[in-house]
């Protein structure tokens, strides 16, 4: 169980290993999709080749583009490419590095589909059965009287078990084409592996120092973006909390810290929420009409996105940095200070 947790945490720890995880999942999905896909050759001379080669080429293109769509680094790359220079210079080597790494990861699932298809052989059989020389495979006396088109139509039916009557010839031809297909498959795998090996082995001979720098800064951009998003989310949470609290206070017309700030003067304002009494948790709303007003106004007259500074100082000062006036209210210059409410205490006797 711990291993699973560790693996999960490791995969999430940085974007690159997360992408490796996604890449692995896509490769498995590609193999699974191939086995679930029902390959059905049309067994007609006009369509065989298109179908066979189409199924060898179109799904890899699809998986390659899917890799681009699922990879978040694509947006990072595009943004980094398109951003105005501002105070931070742009480094084209970083863009190239990111593009290369995205492309490399996206190539794995297509390569897997192509290898699996070639190893299985059905696609080649469908595409190239017409080009066979049927005499090689056994007793082919039945083709003697046939015209060219009829012969081709017969050959086109070889991939279909149920449409071709002469089983021995069909089996022999199938084995032959499958054997060629598997040979192509192994050659393809060998080429891909060798290319990957060359890239890995030779690259350190050139520009290793520059490469380390590039790798560092591309990771940095990625992590910076993630942290910015997280910080914005945390900020939104604190913003919302304080906004709602002030909204309740506005409706009830009371200052929330009626008794709290008198008794809490010696504490340093870092109140734990649990220490708040029940009374304070009511946020000043104690009657049905007030609560109705709270709920009604929440829809008909939502509060402005501008927090009062005096309230903020006591509460979440650590989280809300600086001015919170970037809301779309355009409160660029105004500080919505309300006049300090007078505290009063009224004691009802029983």
């Amino acid at each position: 169980m711990d291993k699973f947790r560790m693996m999960f945490q490791f995969l999430q720890s940085n974007q690159e290993s997360f992408m490796n995880g996604i890449c692995g999942i896509m490769a498995l999905a590609s193999a699974q999709m191939y086995s679930a896909f029902e390959f059905s050759c049309p067994c007609m001379p006009e369509y065989n080749y298109t179908y066979g080669i189409g199924l060898l080429i179109v799904p890899p293109i699809w998986f390659f583009l899917l890799g681009f769509v699922l990879n978040n680094n694509v947006s990072v790359l595009a943004e980094e490419w398109k951003r105005p220079t501002g105070s931070r210079t742009k480094d084209p080597t970083i863009l190239r590095y990111m593009f290369c790494s995205i492309t490399q990861r996206s190539l794995i699932a297509p390569a897997l589909w192509v290898s699996v298809t070639l190893m299985d052989g059905k696609s080649f059989l469908c595409a190239f059965s017409i080009n066979l020389d049927i005499e090689k495979f056994g007793n082919s006396s039945f083709v003697k009287g046939m015209s060219e088109t009829e012969k081709i139509r017969l050959l086109a039916r070889i991939p279909c078990k149920d449409l071709f009557e002469h089983q021995e010839i069909r089996v022999a031809a199938t084995r032959y084409i499958k054997c060629i297909s598997q040979a192509c498959g192994w050659i393809f795998l060998l080429m891909m592996t060798f290319t990957a090996f060359l890239i890995r082995a030779i690259r350190p001979c050139f520009t290793q120092a520059a490469f380390l720098k590039t790798k560092y800064w591309s990771h940095y951009i990625d992590i910076e973006r993630k942290m910015f998003d997280e910080t914005c989310k945390e900020h939104a949470k604190s913003f919302a909390k304080v906004c709602i609290q002030q909204y309740f206070e506005n409706i009830s017309g009371e200052m929330q810290s009626l008794h709290r700030h008198r008794s809490g003067k010696d504490d340093n304002g870092d109140e734990d929420e649990d220490k708040r009494s029940d009374e304070d948790k009511l946020l000043g709303i104690r009657a049905q009409d007030d609560m109705n007003k709270v709920l009604w106004n929440w829809h008909t007259c939502k509060p402005a996105l501008a927090l009062r500074k005096d309230q903020m100082d006591g509460e979440n000062n650590s989280k809300l940095n600086g001015k919170i006036n970037e809301g779309f209210n355009g409160f660029a210059n105004g500080h919505p200070h309300e006049t300090k409410k007078r505290e009063w205490a009224v004691y009802y006797s029983k």
Binding site: Y47, P59, D278, A304
Partner: protein, 333 residues
């Protein structure tokens, strides 16, 4: 079990991943539903097309509406769109962003259904077997006395008697299935090219800074609504507690019930004190019965101002001159 908890925890970490998770679950449900659905082509000329197009379009529509219903962003978006302006100006970009996010997620499960349908081919064969030219294939069963259209309509049905020992049916099925798979892959390719172009080209055309703002405020609206609901729930709990305590205390003022000792001068041990407090002075069966009766027939009004403002014991230290040095309010009851 723990693994499931871990996965659930990851997905609950933020609202967006919950939506993504639900979207993926719906897509998987759609695939599972397709594989377990017992597709029964009627094999009659009048009904084939209707049945198949029905099976191909009605479940996607259902999944689409399910996707919209289940998505949290739908509520947030509608709320933001329909609210009166009030103190907070409205930003149409936020509504558009939420709408497009919701539509994209809701469209996944229907698309998965349609694509699985096309790649499988059964439904296409059922719908379009009559449109195929039988002259392309050899071995047409011509001794059955049925006309061509009816024979072609029977092609999707494997068990039909007229196709015994005939390769005609299989040839036609393969042909139509091949078309169906080609259409399916073309749609897949088209969608993925659209997605890839969108990802690559979008930053060239959009204003990224405005996009960052829109995204922040959409997330803010979502968080705000959640927090507001939570605050209301907590408030309701405290309100109810105070209301009930107030009710019990009102009952103790009734002439039949005796007044309790004020808690801070009671000399009994702490634990006993607490328990006595909780009894609120009701110690006999008749008192309890009367109290329950009153709770049903005369529920108290929704106003706890009185209990909130009752006097609290307060200890004050004064210097010899009579000036207050320090005031300590004891914890409320």
């Amino acid at each position: 079990m723990e693994r499931l908890k871990l996965v659930l925890q990851y997905f609950q970490s933020n609202s967006e991943s919950i939506s993504n998770g639900i979207c993926i679950v719906l897509a998987l449900v759609s695939v599972k539903l397709y594989t377990s659905f017992d597709f029964n082509c009627p094999c009659l000329p009048q009904y084939n097309k209707l049945y198949s197009l029905g099976v191909m379009t009605v479940p996607p529509i259902i999944f689409f509406f399910l996707g919209v219903l289940v998505n949290r962003h739908t509520g947030v978006m509608m709320d933001e769109w329909m609210r009166p302006v009030g103190n907070r100006s409205k930003n149409p970009a936020v509504v558009k962003y939420l709408f497009s996010a919701m539509i994209q997620r809701a469209l996944l499960a229907p698309m998965v259904w349609i694509l699985v349908t096309l790649l499988d081919g059964k439904i296409f064969i059922c719908a379009f077997s009559m449109s195929v030219d039988p002259g392309l294939f050899s071995g047409v069963p011509n001794n059955t006395g049925l006309d061509m259209v009816r024979i072609m309509a029977k092609v999707p049905c494997k068990e039909d008697v007229i196709f015994q020992n005939s390769s005609f049916r299989k040839a036609v099925s393969r042909y139509v299935r091949c078309y169906s798979q080609a259409v399916g892959w073309s749609i897949l390719l088209f969608l993925i090219i659209l997605g890839a172009m969108g990802r690559l080209i979008k930053p060239c055309f959009e204003d990224h800074a405005a996009f960052l703002q829109t995204r922040y405020w959409s997330n803010y609206l979502d968080v705000e609504q959640k927090l507001f609901d939570e605050t209301c729930v907590l408030h309701a709990r405290d309100f109810a507690r105070k209301c009930v305590v107030q009710f019990f205390e009102d009952m103790t003022e009734d002439s039949i019930l005796r007044l309790p000792h004020p808690s801070f001068i009671s000399k009994v041990g702490e634990r006993w004190e607490e328990e006595e407090e909780r009894l609120h002075g009701v110690t006999k069966q008749e008192q309890m019965d009367q109290l329950l009766n009153k709770w049903y027939y005369g529920k108290p009004e929704l106003d706890v101002t009185r209990i909130a403002h009752r006097p609290r014991p307060c200890v004050t230290w004064q210097d010899p001159g009579g000036r207050t040095l320090y005031s300590d309010i004891m914890a409320p009851a």
